[in-house]
């Protein structure tokens, strides 16, 4: 493998139902930082059926070029045709870096593609930068420059590791949604759009879709919320979430929850924050009756301001809270909601 042949930062522009997922813009944003450091540009790879019209949106968020792979076989996500699409792009264009969102799609697609083309893949990255590998010179070992250094949590968020892929290309990573910053959208900006179709012939690896069942949810995506009022097992019951909903309504927030709440059947999974749920970083995160298991902290500790209410003084949530209140949520929340209502009305 001649590593020098591989150039440019590529990102997988995930879309579902022909709506681009926010992760695509986040990857373009981070991709631009990496491309600037390497003196190259960012290509978004858009895969689907009837998706060409979405290319402009990718350009407006910073993509310099968009490769569109448009084919009826790609209408719904299926591992094999999507893996074939990305592997074909990599073979033809030889990118230096390829980023994919660590979503339920990307975490299936990324490994299949990396295995097909024989390169390394670092999962669920929370930080990406260009640097040297080894990071400090080691006698007798060549120090390679301009490498992608991929940082990720492991062991349930207890450790962090920085990984490199010095001898294979592209350097591939899946990136946690909600962690990287999008660039500001610049309406009217155009990218160089290129269509490419490697051909899709169904074989034994193409699975058949019998049914698509969409979850019914009319709530705001918790990843987009500025204020989250999040409840845990300590809330006590599904009915008692009313206290959190009232507070959220007054303060313009959205209700989310911990895994224990989903397991108990009090709230649906799309409201779950944490390692097996969503990563959020709102301006304010109220952690109410949440003990703060490490898997939960991994999904919310980057929030700007964390306010925790818990009756257990030793709850680990207090280790990451900016303001911790030891007390009974059943007494504090109704009074807090009333007081905030009065404060806001007085403005």
């Amino acid at each position: 493998m001649n590593l020098e042949e591989y150039k440019g930062v590529y990102v997988f522009a995930q879309q579902v139902d022909n709506v681009i997922n926010s992760i695509a813009f986040e990857l373009i944003g981070k991709g631009k930082d990496l491309a600037d450091a390497l003196g190259t540009d960012v290509t978004a790879v858009l895969v689907g059926s009837g998706v060409k019209g979405l290319a402009d949106e990718l350009a407006e968020y910073g993509a310099d070029r968009v490769i569109v792979i448009d084919d009826p076989e790609l209408k719904e996500y299926r591992t094999e045709p999507y893996a074939h699409a990305l592997a074909s792009v990599i073979e033809k264009y030889k990118p230096e870096i390829f980023l994919v969102g660590a979503t339920a799609i990307g975490r299936d697609l990324g490994p299949r593609v990396s295995a097909r083309i024989h390169t390394g893949l670092t999962a669920d990255c929370t930080q990406l930068e260009i640097g040297d590998f080894p990071m400090n010179p080691v006698p007798g070992k060549e120090q390679k420059h301009n490498q992608l250094l991929m940082t990720r949590p492991a062991f349930g968020g207890n450790t962090i590791a920085t990984i490199a892929c010095p001898d294979f290309r592209p350097q591939m990573a899946t990136v946690r949604p909600g962690v990287m910053q999008k660039r500001e959208r610049k309406p009217g900006v155009k990218a160089n759009v290129e269509e490419f179709n490697p051909g899709f012939t169904p074989d034994h690896k193409y699975v058949e879709i019998l049914e698509i069942v969409k979850a019914v949810s009319d709530t705001v995506d918790i990843m987009d919320a500025k204020i989250l009022v999040s409840g845990g097992r300590g809330v006590g019951s599904a009915e008692n979430f009313k206290l959190l909903e009232d507070l959220a309504e007054v303060i313009g927030g959205t209700v989310s929850c911990s895994r224990a709440v989903v397991d108990a059947g009090w709230k649906p999974k799309d409201l779950q924050v944490g390692q097996t749920g969503k990563t959020v970083r709102p301006n304010v995160y109220f952690a109410i009756g949440i003990s703060g298991a490490i898997q939960h902290l991994a999904g919310m500790e980057e929030s700007d301001l964390i306010i925790a209410i818990n009756k257990d003084e030793g709850a680990p949530i207090f280790d990451v809270a900016d303001y911790g209140i030891v007390g009974d949520l059943n007494k504090i929340l109704p009074a807090l909601t009333e007081k905030l209502k009065a404060e806001i009305a007085a403005k």
Binding site: T103, P111, G120, L121, A123, I163, I325, V326, G327, E343
Partner: protein, 260 residues
């Protein structure tokens, strides 16, 4: 029907993680468990066995002591255990691990391979899909439900806001979510039999169609540049007041931070 379930012995991260003085993980000091997603995969296989009749083999790669996790699986009802262990396989990333397991699987009969979605130590979710690629068979990840119909599997595949009901012809590979089921307990008789059961132990030489350059630390495309204990931002203020004072305190802070 022949089912192979890939399982992993992992440190139990629930009780916290212990480190050696040099910052590496002190695996010896930590309790080990069968990885939860893998255990759900095993349970799914055992239910298929109960319903349709199947031979269930559990396969793991690890240190010799990983034999324990195979015996646990046998005590739950698996029929055979295969341990792949060899010094040259150590230090493997997901590429080298999937190459190793694929090499073992090429020497086994299977209609269905089940892996957990991800292991709680690495959390990568890569090894299952990578094995399927090496074996050139279909993969369905994130299974929340699994059944067999004729020569196919019907799987509910979870996504963020929906699930797809997918059908794949066997042989194929499915990765299981812990939500798939509630794994059964070992039975006393099962534990007794598992204690004496013979575990098949394979080394490098027993792997089929795998080159040395794809195994172990040397065959791993990804390399660790740095590993460290997670630095948390640290606790802020903590107060213990009566409810009315608590409310004033929170409102005061929200004003100070211009939230209201």
């Amino acid at each position: 029907m022949k089912i192979v379930v890939c399982i992993k012995q992992v440190p139990d991260t629930k009780g916290g993680v212990k480190f050696n003085p040099d910052g590496t993980l002190d695996r010896a000091a930590m309790m080990t468990i069968m990885n939860p997603d893998d255990k759900a995969g095993l349970e799914a296989a055992l239910r298929l066995k109960d319903e349709y009749g199947a031979e269930v083999t559990v396969l793991t790669m690890g240190l010799p002591k990983a034999e324990d996790v195979l015996r646990e699986a046998l005590a739950m009802g698996a029929d055979k255990g295969v341990l792949v262990t060899d010094r040259v396989l150590g230090g493997a990333d997901t590429w080298a691990t999937s190459q190793t397991l694929a090499g073992a699987l090429r020497n086994m009969d299977y209609d269905l391979i089940i892996t957990g979605r991800q292991a709680i130590d690495g959390d990568t979710a890569q090894v299952g899909p990578q094995i399927s690629e090496h074996l050139n068979i279909p993969v369905i990840s994130y299974a929340q439900n699994l059944k067999v119909e004729g020569d196919s599997v019907i799987v509910e595949r979870q996504f963020d806001d929906r699930y797809h009901v997918l059908k794949a012809k066997m042989p194929c590979l499915v990765t299981a979510l812990a939500e798939l089921n509630e794994p059964r307990y070992m039975t006393p008789g099962g534990i007794f039999d598992a204690f004496d059961a013979e575990i098949t132990v394979w080394g490098r030489a027993d792997l089929k169609d795998v080159e040395d350059s794809n195994l172990g630390l040397k065959g791993s495309p990804t390399q660790i540049a740095k590993a460290s204990d997670k630095v948390r931002k640290g606790a802020g203020e903590k107060v213990n007041l009566d409810p009315a004072e608590s409310v004033d305190y929170i409102v005061g802070k929200l004003k100070e931070k211009h939230v209201i």
